[in-house]
């Protein structure tokens, strides 16, 4: 495959995210790209992937062309293994049945904290965003993969408001806040794949996406980035990945 990109930003986001999942895992997926990416993984290399949705769905099997407009819609339940209360599906995370939480993000900072609540001062916000939903619970209780658009205003040094905790103020501050388990594992954007330093817990670039330079990532980020010593390049989406993805979302609701 050459550098001639035959995919959209959302498509590479979905494909790269799906590759982060492993067969046999239990993954809690948010609506949009996470749902699509988890379903893509299930159709390709992870037939035994168990997908949970916030509405109260365990072991979902989303039908091609019938993507749900939210994870609280009946479409999420078709051919699922179990349907239960929506608080109860979140309690499964608290008990520890879930390996990976997988969500989108509106704004993220250097410690992987996510903001989906306020732009500006929460007391007099410039913009009141939708809020946490289950995001706070998921990111408090398990290992997280976040798939999001890469823009300077979305990648900031410190979020205006920690809706879903990453590593809080870095170091051991997450555990000291009462969150001994989980934390940010990967952030996937259309430009790069990110991990977090084991000690100071700051974000770092693990791999650049095909045709993307260090400068391009840095230019689209609101703080100074660290690049991993073994900085890699991600494999571009394969024809099979793209074809499967497009069958799942024929109306291009989420893949743009």
């Amino acid at each position: 495959m050459t550098d001639t990109r035959n995919y959209t930003a959302s498509e590479i986001l979905a494909v790269l995210s799906s590759r982060q999942l492993t067969d046999g895992q239990v993954v809690f997926a948010g609506v949009g790209i996470p749902l699509l990416a988890a379903t893509l993984a299930q159709r390709l290399d992870c037939p035994g992937l168990t997908i949970l949705f916030e509405g109260g769905v365990v072991g979902a099997f989303v039908e091609p062309g019938k993507l749900p407009p939210s994870t609280n819609d009946q479409r999420c339940t078709k051919r699922a293994n179990m349907v239960l209360g929506s608080a109860d599906v979140l309690l499964l995370l608290q008990r520890g049945y879930v390996d990976v939480g997988f969500m989108g993000g509106a704004q993220i900072d250097q410690f992987g904290n996510l903001n989906s609540s306020f732009i500006g001062d929460p007391a007099h916000p410039k913009t009141r965003l939708p809020g946490t939903g289950g995001g706070n619970d998921i990111s408090s209780l398990t290992n997280m993969i976040v798939a999001m658009k890469h823009e300077k205003r979305r990648f900031v040094e410190q979020v205006d408001f920690i809706t879903s905790p990453g590593f809080i103020r870095g170091g051991r501050s997450r555990a000291e806040s009462g969150l001994p388990m989980g934390g940010m594992f990967r952030v996937i954007t259309e430009l790069a794949v990110f991990g977090f330093d084991d000690t100071d817990r700051r974000i770092k670039v693990l791999a650049l996406n095909p045709g993307v330079s260090r400068e391009e990532v840095q230019d689209n980020t609101g703080f100074d980035l660290t690049f991993d010593d073994q900085l890699g390049t991600t494999e571009p989406p394969t024809e099979k990945e793209l074809a499967t993805l497009r069958v799942l979302d024929p109306e291009r609701l989420f893949i743009g």
Partner: protein
């Protein structure tokens, strides 16, 4: 407004005065919403665009109720309509938007950013545990989320403790016992024994937590039918105060197994109110809420084509 945790003796007092006998309680929408008083705390069943008790909200808006303090696990169009109509000036929830297809709610933004209304944010699980504590008759439940986040910081109503058993940090979330719950179900009997298919969201906890419950139902079935499969009953009759049969009672949202959301109407609604969250919202309310002579006339405005298409999709969940 939030009243804090209700003292146990007071909560029990209210319940002891409630008529919990096995009796028929079928009534009209107009009669049922009389159970809601200005200023009440109101819990809303369903989630996002699913099993929203839209007919009850429609009626409350027509009744021009005031200062309702509402709560729901995740709120969408119903939150817009409650704020936009002036029926509510306070909503407790975990997420407030139209859903990913339509983005932010401009109506919520306008009302909250202008200071005209409050949106108090809790995590989704915290909302669930608050209703559950209310339904269990305890003042709080412990959780392991919200800790360390700003969601916790702006909610001093929740309290951190060190676990007396393990020394671990925990968050205690306060019980939520709404004065009234509004819940839409697929079927119930005339006494209020309700069966819910598919996603139940937080409706069972909400029904047990509330001091009064108004049920709307796609259809009223016989008590005999309920008694043939009692393990399918999800809400017991004695926590229900009113039963109203309202086919398509969640329109334009969905009701599991009966209809999916009415997407064309939702599209048009969002386009309209996002242009002008005050004036266009008033026009929408005028046309769809205040003017129709009845709920069926409201459905007529949504249109036969759309209702039938939503039904076709809704029923298809059982085509297997």
């Amino acid at each position: 407004m939030t009243t804090g945790v209700e003292p146990y003796v007071q909560l029990r007092e209210k319940l002891s005065k409630r008529d919990r006998s096995l009796r028929e309680k079928v009534m009209s929408l107009e009669e049922a919403t009389k159970f809601v008083r200005d200023g009440d705390t109101v819990g809303i069943g369903g989630s996002t665009m699913s099993r929203t008790p839209m007919a009850l909200i429609w009626q409350l808006i027509r009744d021009r109720r005031k200062e309702l303090s509402c709560s729901r696990c995740i709120i969408s169009t119903d939150g817009d309509l409650l704020f936009g109509s002036g029926v509510s000036n306070h909503i407790e929830t975990s997420w407030f938007a139209q859903g990913i297809l339509w983005g932010l709610s401009k109506v919520m933004r306008h009302n909250v950013e202008s200071g005209g209304a409050r949106y108090d944010e809790w995590s989704h699980m915290a909302m669930g545990m608050r209703y559950r504590a209310g339904g269990m008759g305890v003042p709080f439940l412990p959780i392991r989320s919200m800790l360390g986040s700003d969601v916790e910081r702006i909610r001093p109503e929740a309290k951190e403790i060190d676990c007396p058993f393990t020394g671990e940090r925990l968050l205690l979330v306060p019980a939520l016992n709404p004065e009234v719950a509004l819940i839409h179900v697929q079927r119930c009997d005339a006494y209020g024994n309700a069966q819910i298919d598919g996603l139940q969201f937080m409706d069972i906890d909400l029904a047990l937590a509330a001091n009064r419950v108004i049920l709307t139902t796609e259809r009223i079935v016989s008590n005999d039918q309920i008694r043939r499969a009692p393990d399918q009953t999800k809400i017991p009759f004695f926590c229900v105060d009113a039963v109203v049969e309202v086919p398509y009672g969640s329109a334009p949202h969905e009701c599991f197994g009966v209809y999916e959301p009415m997407l064309a109407h939702m599209d048009a609604y969002v386009r309209q109110v996002n242009k002008d969250p005050v004036g266009a919202m008033q026009d929408y309310l005028e046309k769809y809420f205040y003017e129709p002579a009845s709920w069926n006339k409201y459905l007529e405005l949504i249109g036969m084509e759309e209702v039938l298409e939503a039904s076709r999709r809704g029923r298809s969940i059982y085509n297997d």
